[in-house]
């Protein structure tokens, strides 16, 4: 092949490749940001963007060296240990000042009658002073003995999320330092299943999703078989109506069912939510299964019948096994839908929160706990993402079943 024609080929394809790669990157970055953040120490999450883990924007941190030298090093020395009993770079010291303005307020206090920062002094104007303190603060919080991206990598956010930690430190730290505090047992098994945490929510979600996936498949398969291979009056229009009911949105059925459950004493039960999800998923399920079962060759059923099979056995032995692809597609579709649902779970199962509901319970209105939220969010993603990537083919097939026209 001529040397330039190869280059030409690559060149021609460049815009397309570039466009696709840029779009893929844009699609992945938000999730990546969350993923990276979920492994970072909570103080770092509050003080620097997640991209600094990759070395981007770290100049902000390094720019703190000069002001530090100018204002602090004369007393505290280059390593922060110049003053007896005070180590500026240690964790205990930094912990006292979760934000730069706290440090600023502290520095305003005089020491032995003299201003803390004296040679030179900090500007009077607070925002000017903060302009100096911010880089110093970043410098103090970021620099450590062994710096490197492995350094602040921790699973503590996940531990906090699993347990539903609401304190000011981290769960692991609390258990290490005060094992006698009463809120957490510091015993892995019992803490993982504590009601306020994602661990418990994970179990709840499993308990909700699995039956809510299996039941519609079962009932839809029965009905689909009847619509496909049994002849009875009104079969066409009944099918059309049942499938047409797909259009009714959740919002139309929520409240009356909730009220019904309350009057039956069924509110806040698992059975209630299973039935609701089954009901809502049936029209689509019947549509999908019927199309598939109906497309099986009729000779199969004919020969079975000639051999003396009843409808019951031809359902279980022929229709159902052969309908496995449709069952797989439907199952995966319904599984992901129920797993990710929020509205139904928050109304029908408020006291045994599922993952999505628990995330909203963990949101701190003051915005202080991104580190826990990121861990919690990822815990809720793992299973559906795994199912999605593992069974993408079936998922797509289920989606396409109703959509390709023309």
């Amino acid at each position: 092949m001529k040397p330039f024609s190869r280059l030409n080929k690559i060149f021609k394809k460049l815009p397309v490749n570039l466009a696709i790669i840029i779009m893929c990157v844009m699609w992945v970055i938000p999730t990546l940001g969350l993923f990276v953040t979920s492994f970072r120490d909570r103080r770092e999450v509050r003080n620097s963007g997640w991209w600094t883990v990759f070395g981007i924007g770290v100049e902000e941190v390094e720019s703190g060296v000069e002001p530090y030298q100018e204002y602090c090093a004369s007393c505290h020395g280059d390593d922060g240990r110049g003053v007896e009993g005070v180590d500026l770079f240690s964790e205990e010291t930094i912990q006292n000042y979760p934000r730069a303005n706290r440090l600023f307020i502290y520095l305003r206090e005089p020491i032995e009658g003299e201003p803390h920062v004296r040679d030179p002094q900090l500007p009077e104007n607070p925002s000017d002073a903060l302009e100096i303190i911010n880089p110093i603060y970043n410098y103090l919080t970021e620099v450590e003995e062994e710096k490197g991206w492995l350094n602040r990598f921790s699973f503590s956010n996940y531990a906090d999320a699993l347990v539903g930690y609401k304190g000011t430190e981290t769960y692991l730290q609390d258990c290490q330092e005060n094992p006698d505090q009463t809120r957490y047992d510091c015993n892995v098994l019992s803490d993982l299943t504590k009601p306020g945490g994602m661990g418990r929510a994970f179990i709840n979600t499993l308990l909700v999703t699995i039956p809510a996936t299996l039941l519609p498949i079962l009932f839809a398969a029965f009905a689909a078989y009847a619509f496909a291979w049994l002849d009875f009056k009104g079969r066409q229009w009944l099918f059309a109506i049942l499938v047409g009911l797909q259009i009714i949105p959740l919002q139309m059925t929520l409240v009356p069912i909730a009220r019904l459950y309350v009057s039956l004493g069924m509110q806040d039960t698992f059975l209630g939510i299973w039935l609701f999800h089954t009901g809502f998923g049936l029209p689509y399920a019947i549509y999908l299964m019927r199309n598939f079962i109906g497309s099986l060759p009729k000779e199969l059923f004919e020969s079975a019948y000639i051999d003396g099979a009843s409808h019951w056995s031809s359902f279980w032995k022929i229709a159902l096994p052969l309908a496995t692809p449709a069952i797989a597609s439907l199952g995966i579709f319904q599984f992901i839908w129920v797993w990710n649902d929020f509205l139904v779970a928050t109304i029908f199962l408020p006291t045994s929160p599922v993952l999505t509901v628990q995330i909203t319970n963990l949101i701190d209105p003051r915005g202080q706990n991104w580190h826990i939220l990121t861990g919690a969010a990822f815990l809720s993603f793992i299973v559906p993402m795994a199912v999605f990537f593992g069974f993408q083919r079936y998922f797509v097939r289920g989606m396409l079943a109703g959509s390709i026209k023309g």
Partner: protein, 303 residues
């Protein structure tokens, strides 16, 4: 189609359908009628709606809750926002999906690219809300930005923007999340449709000297047009019902309210109004449904 030898009594068929039928009647048909009934009652579903009319104010009688749903300022904002979403976000998402589907077709790593773009579908809306709240985060004062967008802005010496609370951008910020979530869905369906276009037609066109743009716009697009319509109508229906994203990101504050969120907020405090909003929601989806059915029938005829 049905093998004649498999005739059986009415009761057999009935038994097969019974469980599904019962559940559907109980969980879809009955509640729908009940919702409509409740929309004509007051905030606790006891007295008729006209008892909530106030002296000297406008009153629509039994339709009092509908008056709220259509004229209340919060609802007006919600209706406007849903319309905005439909007019802006839907075309953009469909076009994005189409674009990516077509471009991805031409590269070797197509399955990987498509999986990455489709992936947001597997994330719950709540999770997506957390991801994007983080991207849009603004840090006040002089503290360093930890949200991606504001981090970029600050790096270029711009002022950070409060994406979620600034009324001139927040709706669009939310729409971006919507596109992120749904473009993959559109892409998957449209990609399947594009691949279904017969290769001979395309080859013939290329041989006749058509360039790629002409092939795409003059041949492929018209052929898959019915699918494009189906995707668009599906998206419109999804957007009319949009709830989770708005709920978890702004809870409808700062002018981002949407219909389904209004309905949710009112479920316990004012059932009548909440139900009226739900009914209005369904009524709004009816034209889209009718359009879908009409097209479906037209195609069945053409077959």
């Amino acid at each position: 189609m049905l093998p004649k030898i498999m005739k059986q009594g009415f009761w057999t068929a009935f038994l097969y359908i019974l469980p599904a039928l019962l559940i559907i009647i109980l969980f879809i048909v009955y509640p729908s009628f009940n919702t409509i009934r409740l929309s004509f009652l007051d905030e606790r579903g006891e007295q008729p709606a006209y008892t909530t009319c106030r002296e000297g104010g406008e009153c629509w009688g039994i339709f009092e809750n509908y008056r709220y749903a259509l004229t209340n300022p919060d609802m007006r904002i919600a209706l406007r926002n849903n319309a905005l979403w439909i007019l802006l976000m839907v075309p953009f998402t469909v076009i994005m999906g189409l674009l990516i589907a077509q471009l991805a077709d031409k590269v070797k790593y197509e399955p990987v690219a498509k999986a990455l773009i489709f992936m947001p579908v597997s994330i719950s809306f709540i999770g997506a809300g957390v991801i994007w709240r983080f991207v849009y985060h603004i840090q006040t004062g002089d503290n360093p930005q930890i949200g991606l967008l504001n981090g970029i802005l600050v790096a270029f010496n711009q002022d950070p923007v409060a994406w979620m609370s600034n009324r001139s951008v927040n709706n669009y910020a939310l729409m971006v999340v919507g596109v992120w979530l749904w473009a993959g869905f559109c892409m998957t369906i449209l990609s399947a449709a594009l691949k279904g276009v017969s290769k001979e037609v395309l080859e013939a066109a290329r041989v006749d000297g058509a360039n790629e743009f002409q092939v795409f716009f003059r041949i492929m697009l018209p052929i898959i047009f019915p699918t494009v319509l189906v995707v668009t109508t599906t998206m419109v229906i999804n957007i009319l019902k949009i709830f989770d994203i708005v709920f978890v990101m702004t809870n409808g504050n700062f002018g981002t309210e949407v219909i389904a969120n209004r309905m949710f907020q009112l479920i316990v405090t004012n059932t009548g109004r909440s139900m009226a909003i739900a009914v209005v929601l369904v009524i709004l989806t009816i034209p889209v449904m009718i359009f879908n059915v009409y097209r479906f029938r037209k195609q069945e005829q053409e077959r």
